[in-house]
């Protein structure tokens, strides 16, 4: 008994102590799959800074963790509306662009984003769009807009993203409203549209919808651009479109926390990842576009010319960002509850 | 208060029991209970008990279940604390002393052997908790096991032993530390009859050899009579008679004692008149003068008469009885007779090979007056 206890205690300690100890540490809290491990290892090799990269599953988890205070991270990886929320709560440090050697590599369309003009608090890094994907074999004509998701013709073969803001993008834009509206009447109308759509849906799905559309089980799905890339490469019948009503764009950027233990390392990391060759490596390994325009030239054509990775400039200009909706968020949440509860 | 029943044990010299004892001509009693009461809520299990158990005697507390005998044993062991009164062991007041510091060990009815230990470890347990050296633990435990002829089973587990073997192991464990007093709580209750007889004999033998005071609890009157130097017959938390086995059997002081111990014919009778200090009782077809019987004329009495003290004698002067039942026991014959008034009387006699009488046969049933005990009801 005593020996067993001792052995357990000893092995626990041994495991806990086995973490590597490098001279300097950088702690990042980010999305899984948007920062390749190879990039982190290259950075560690070049700088001698040990990187701890923890992952979260949603912006809300990130915000909750930071709200509690004393998270201990240097860099975080919020999406655009989460940047706004965190700035309002004083969690993000104002950036000194002069300390980011490669700041000028950021493409011009990403330096004046609406949620953080002038990149005061966040450096945009990877981006993508929310649109729709469909399987050519089950439609008569190319799909161009959200209205196809509401077309009775496809009853039982349509999936929506299981995500409140993503669902409302379609619900609002199909009615001709702004995806970031705070008008209660417009939100109400979108809610009704989504409830009316529910009987014809196969379901809400934000995990394997790409497989479903590729196999033909689903005809049209609401989709994040990055999620269907593999399906497009595997199956030429799968098409991704940014809808004519607009669609939305998302950006996951990096911000330094006000209580970051090691902001110097954070600046060095930002300088590193904005290098065109590093950005290209990121795009290649994660199949997600970065804001570094020059990196596009370093990519294979399959990626550089893929509209799901790099949509046409004209369609991007049309897309909304999902922003922090402030108090109107309550209206969305109430509406979403009704949508999910509806039969 | 203790009447000496001519007990042979009291004269035995005190033994060295590894416990402080006064070096006086008369050693203090092994156990002394003074006004001990134990209440569980509203129930009084033991009621103002005064009891002195002599050093080196085989003492039995006998009674039906619920009479307070086991509670008294638990009070002596220290598992329960008395509500009132004092408990002395070898002259030392242990009323407030926890069980593990008392110089007594118990043999439980359930044996209470530790299932996760070998028999050897079980027996060595009292030595282990006293931090004896391993070698000493082993030697003494083996000696104790050899004493109960269990040396060969030292490496077994309790579950691998028969009931009798477990009983011996439990006994060895309780004796290994040479306690001043050994408490035995119906230790033979779970054994079959043959084994029980064997163990009774061994227990008695062992007690005689070791000279340790045994305090034995049982509901089996035959066992109590066989083993004990003295018996306390208990009822309702009190001792109703404290006597030697012979005294208890031959001179029961109450009707309860007469009927609880051994087989007894209980024959109804009636006081028909008085003659000075004596009562005139009509029973068994005869009027008898019973000296010292204070009951008024007309009251009912019960006569107790042991079956083996009745003689069949066709020529005798006793009442006539007609044979209604025969139990052939082997060593004994148990004959049931019906008297003229319908009273059933059992007669017991040794089987000497004589012809067994037939059902319906009549004879006269005789007894000596000294064997008749009369109790007012």
């Amino acid at each position: 008994m005593t020996r067993l206890t001792f052995a357990l205690a000893a092995s626990t300690l041994a495991l806990a102590a086995a973490a590597p100890a490098l001279a300097e540490d950088l702690r990042i809290f980010g999305w899984a799959g948007e920062m390749p491990d190879e990039v982190l290892q290259d950075f560690e090799a070049e700088t001698g800074i040990a990187v701890t990269f923890d992952t979260f599953d949603s912006n809300e988890s990130l915000i909750a963790k930071l709200d509690a205070g004393g998270s201990g991270y240097d860099l975080v990886n919020p999406s655009q509306y989460a940047v706004q929320i965190l700035v309002n709560r004083g969690k993000l440090a104002e950036l000194d662009h002069s300390r980011i050697e490669t700041y000028d590599k950021i493409g011009p369309s990403f330096t004046q984003v609406s949620y953080d003009p002038g990149n005061k608090y966040s450096i945009p890094y990877v981006w993508g769009t929310t649109g729709l994907a469909y399987n050519k074999t089950c439609v008569d004509a190319p799909i161009t807009g959200w209205k196809a998701l509401f077309d009775e013709k496809y009853k039982g073969r349509v999936y929506m993203l299981d995500n409140m803001l993503a669902a409302y993008i379609a619900g609002l834009q199909v009615n001709g409203f702004d995806a970031n509206t705070t008008d209660p009447a417009e939100i109400e109308k979108a809610t009704e549209t989504l409830i009316a759509q529910k009987p014809m849906l196969a379901g809400y799905n934000s995990t394997n919808f790409a497989d479903l559309v590729s196999s033909g089980e689903a005809c049209i799905v609401e989709s994040w651009s990055s999620s269907v890339l593999q399906a497009i490469q595997d199956n030429p019948d799968v098409v991704y479109v940014l809808p004519e009503e607009g669609g939305t764009m998302w950006i996951d950027g990096y911000s330094i926390l006000t209580d970051a233990p090691n902001p110097d390392a954070a600046y060095r990391f930002l300088s590193y990842i904005l290098r065109p060759e590093v950005a290209a490596k990121t795009t290649e390994l994660t199949q997600t576009a970065t804001v570094v325009t020059e990196s596009k030239a370093l990519l294979p054509d399959a990626l550089a010319k893929n509209p799901a990775v790099f949509p046409a400039e004209s369609t991007i200009a049309n897309a909304d960002f999902i922003l922090d909706l402030g108090d109107a968020m309550k209206l969305y949440q109430d509406g979403w509850t009704r949508v999910k509860a509806a039969q | 208060m203790i009447s000496d029943g001519g007990c042979v044990v009291a004269t035995r010299p005190p033994q060295d029991q590894g416990f402080p004892m006064q070096d006086q001509p008369t050693s203090p009693p092994a156990v002394d209970l003074r006004g001990v009461t134990k209440r569980f809520g509203a129930v009084t299990a033991v009621d103002r008990l005064d009891l002195t158990i002599r050093s080196g005697e085989f003492f039995t507390m006998l009674g039906a279940s619920g009479c307070g005998k086991t509670t008294t044993l638990r009070l002596i062991a220290g598992f329960d604390m008395p509500s009132e009164g004092q408990i002395l062991i070898s002259g030392r007041d242990v009323s407030e002393v926890p069980a593990y510091q008392r110089p007594v060990h118990t043999v439980f009815q359930s044996y209470a052997l530790f299932p996760h230990m070998t028999i050897l470890d079980n027996v060595a347990f009292p030595l282990k908790v006293r931090r004896l050296t391993r070698a000493e633990q082993r030697d003494r435990a083996m000696a104790a096991l050899d004493m109960v002829q269990m040396g060969g089973l030292a490496d077994r587990r309790p579950a691998q032993l028969s009931g009798g073997q477990q009983q011996r192991a439990a006994l060895a464990r309780a004796l290994v530390n040479e306690p001043a007093v050994l408490l035995l709580d119906e230790p033979l209750g779970a054994l079959d009859l043959k084994l029980r007889k064997e163990m009774q004999h061994e227990l008695k033998e062992m007690q005689r050899r070791l000279g340790i005071t045994f305090v034995f609890v049982t509901h089996d009157q035959e066992e109590a009579l066989t083993l004990s130097d003295r018996i306390a017959l208990m009822q309702g938390g009190r001792i109703i008679q404290l006597d030697t086995p012979a005294g208890l059997y031959d001179a029961p002081k109450t009707l309860y004692a007469a009927s609880f111990i051994g087989e007894t014919n209980l024959i109804p009778g009636r006081v028909i008149g008085r003659d000075g200090g004596a009562g005139l009782v009509e029973a068994l077809g005869r009027t008898r003068r019973i000296a010292g019987l204070g009951a008024p004329a007309g009251s009912a009495v019960t006569l107790a008469l042991r079956p083996e003290r009745i003689r069949r004698d066709p020529e005798g002067d006793g009442p006539e009885g007609r044979l209604t039942g025969i139990d052939f026991i082997g060593t004994d014959l148990r004959l049931t007779y019906a008297l003229a008034d319908g009273t059933a009387v059992v007669v017991r006699e040794q089987n000497r090979g004589a012809a067994i009488p037939g059902i319906g046969e009549a004879t006269r049933l005789c007894h000596d007056d000294g064997d008749l005990h009369i109790f007012t009801t």
Binding site: W31, F53, S214 | S110, F125
Partner: protein, 275 residues
């Protein structure tokens, strides 16, 4: 002699012999089929978890070489072992105290230890996170182990309590009678008999901790992302067979623990064995 067995009544025929068998079968199918599919697609050559494109061990290889998963596994193991040890120790002592001793607040302690069972884990998690930040305790192994102890302690306590309640009190009387003080009685008599239950409680606590997601979400800190947290965050990219492979490995690990508990440990502890 032939035993004259009456023909069962309609209730027995319909429900006991008929329906219950089918219900059981369907329940097992319902439970096991998803797991079988999950494991099967871990061997898929392609990236799909719906379309079978061929057999491959590639995803297991990918899992094996994934540095993040190795780290997460390491974190999960530390937290599982640490929290299970604490939870079992506290649970066992509390269980013995509750079943064996009379003391003021005994019922309250029993209820308090069972409370996490009925409180939503998310509430416990939020509460603990707020408390930790209020107390200025940095999040990490410590906070996560405390959180997991909260989750597993009702189970550890219940298991040991059940065992302690069925122990023969007379054995403790016997130990005291033979001269053992309370500590010796506990160490030499009570504890060894509780060991099978304690071992079970430990393994169950470790499994609960290893599989925990909600409490980990709130209490993890820098560098302490557990395996379930890592898997959950990987879901943003959709379900790939890499997750299936990881899931398959976790299923195997959990089944192994289960077999250890059921098939090996208990009989070993119950059977007479020798040091």
């Amino acid at each position: 002699m032939r035993s004259a067995r009456a023909r069962p009544g309609w209730f027995t025929r319909v429900f006991v012999h008929g329906v219950s068998g089918w219900v059981t079968l369907l329940t097992y199918l319902f439970m096991l089929v998803p797991i079988v599919i999950l494991v099967a697609f871990a061997f898929n050559a392609g990236k799909s978890t719906v379309v079978w494109t061929g057999f491959s061990l590639g995803w297991f290889e990918k899992v094996w070489h994934n540095r993040n998963i190795a780290r997460a596994l390491h974190v999960s193991l530390v937290v599982a072992l640490g929290s299970a040890a604490l939870s079992t120790a506290i649970g066992a002592l509390a269980a013995v105290a509750i079943t064996r001793r009379e003391f003021p607040g005994r019922d309250l302690l029993g209820a308090a230890l069972a409370a996490p069972l009925v409180l939503p884990e998310i509430v416990l998690g939020v509460g603990l996170l707020v408390f930790m930040s209020f107390a200025g305790v940095p999040l990490g192994y410590g906070s996560m182990i405390v959180g997991h102890v909260l989750v597993s302690i009702p189970f550890a306590t219940l298991i040991v309590r059940a065992a302690a309640a069925s122990l023969d009190v007379r054995l403790e009387d016997a130990a005291a009678d033979l001269g053992a003080n309370e500590w010796q009685t506990f160490r030499l008599v009570t504890l060894p008999q509780l060991m099978p239950a304690i071992a079970t409680a430990f393994l169950l606590s470790a499994t609960l901790s290893f599989d925990n997601l909600v409490m980990s979400t709130f209490t993890s800190g820098v560098g302490t992302t557990t395996l379930p947290l890592r898997i959950y965050s990987m879901l943003k990219l959709g379900i790939t067979p890499e997750i299936n492979a990881l899931g398959a490995l976790m299923v195997v690990a959990n089944v192994a623990i289960l077999l250890l508990v059921m098939g090996r440990y208990l009989p070993l502890m119950l059977k007479p064995n020798r040091r």
